[in-house]
Amino acid sequence: MRQDHLITATQLSRDDIEAVLDRARAVADDPAAYADRHAGRVLALCFFEPSTRTRMSFDSAAKRLGMNTIDMGDVDSSSVSKGESLSDTVRVIEGYADALVLRHPSEGAATLAGERVDVPVVNAGDGAGQHPSQTLLDLHTIREDHGLDDLTIGVMGDLKYGRTVHSLAAALTEFDANQHFISPESLRLPRSVRFDLHETGAQIREHDDLEPILDELDVLYVTRIQKERFPDENEYHRVAGEYQIDAETLADAPDDLTVMHPLPRVDEIAPDVDETDHARYFEQAHNGIPVRMALLDTLLENANPDGDEGTEVGR
């Protein structure tokens, strides 16, 4: 992968993706070989929106590469609450760190940050836009179970606002996957994502119900339907209830169906699914470590091609 930043899944070629996933596998096989790889380097965690697993996953991945991490803390207690622009914030933090991980509530925030700084920026979620590092760990999980060729995947839930869905759908076009999208009418894929899928000639089909296509699927990727997307709470309960699965739903599913979820889940996957052979969402979350280690390793290598020494202080 010859990229300076990871902003959107649409920037990734098949080769880019496979290179990171190969490296993730190497990391998982021999983590000790990577333990001091980036000693002396610092990763800045810039989360303008609450996050538990993504933040901790990057924190852990960085430390397992020998890096230190700095964290700007809650937005309420930072300079952002004083009205500082994102442009200024990232320019300042650039001087403190060798790479930035950014989550922000506005779409396009990571693109802007990438234009403002010279150190690698990883988009860890920009509003309802993209979440490409999640996609890499999703693909790693799928690859371990099924490989990435001749894949048939069903993506269910909030497809409109779900940034993990937008990134995953874009990346899967590189592998010519058959993609089925299952959602209520009001939460279908946004025009921009649909545009990219059509541009690549991707095979996509949209459905109201999971049931008719369940037996075709290799992977079922479930996402949370959020209450705040509905003006009326009754409407939310009615709609959300139709996009929940339990062990009974999966009774007729193919034996090797992999069920995934970016987490956190609320009630869209019943706990009884956890005990089935289909459930893969906890491994999926754990895969965040080797994949993000591989990603950071790759970006830092690209940014520092002359060696693996920590960068000079006070550039």
Binding site: S85, S106, E107, L112, S192
Partner: protein, 152 residues
């Protein structure tokens, strides 16, 4: 009725935007930020017969020549337009518009949650795609309603 029979008087100095798709003349004026209050002489012909387009609009603006960014945006809603610069009753330049690869600092993003609408010191940038424009930041696609988002 051919073009030269149009009963709109010639202008001395200014711009004639011809071969605008029928019904788009008011959007053309919107792009140019002309609503009459600036005192420019403006003539508009709408849905007049045209050999090339069937029906077309034509806009004449006195004492005003278009900037490149105005022409760029104009090309998005009036891709067939010709732009005639008139000085002392003579057409001194006649140009077809060409679709640019992108437009910078001219349109505002319709996505309220786009970072370009968050008070950042950043110019908007749109790529021109098949049938519209697309925000470089949030990827929102703008099609028929481009004229509503002109910010010049």
């Amino acid at each position: 009725m051919s073009d030269h029979e149009l009963r709109v008087s010639k202008i001395r100095d200014g711009t004639v935007i011809d071969h605008v798709e029928g019904g788009q003349a008011l959007n053309v004026l919107a792009i140019l930020g002309i609503d009459g209050s600036e005192g420019l002489g403006v003539s508009v012909g709408m849905n007049v017969p045209s050999d090339r387009l069937g029906r077309k609009d034509i806009v004449k603006v006195e004492d005003r020549e278009l900037s490149q960014s105005e022409v760029d945006v104009l090309s998005l809603i009036a891709p067939e337009a010709t732009i005639n610069i008139v000085r002392d009753f003579e057409v001194v330049e006649k140009n077809r518009v060409t679709r640019p690869d992108g437009v910078t600092g001219v349109l505002s993003c319709p996505n309220r949650n786009c970072i370009t609408n968050a008070g950042e010191p950043v110019e908007t940038r749109f790529d021109v795609v098949a049938d519209g424009v697309r925000c470089d930041y949030c990827a929102t696609i703008l099609r028929s309603d481009i004229a509503d988002h002109i910010d010049v």
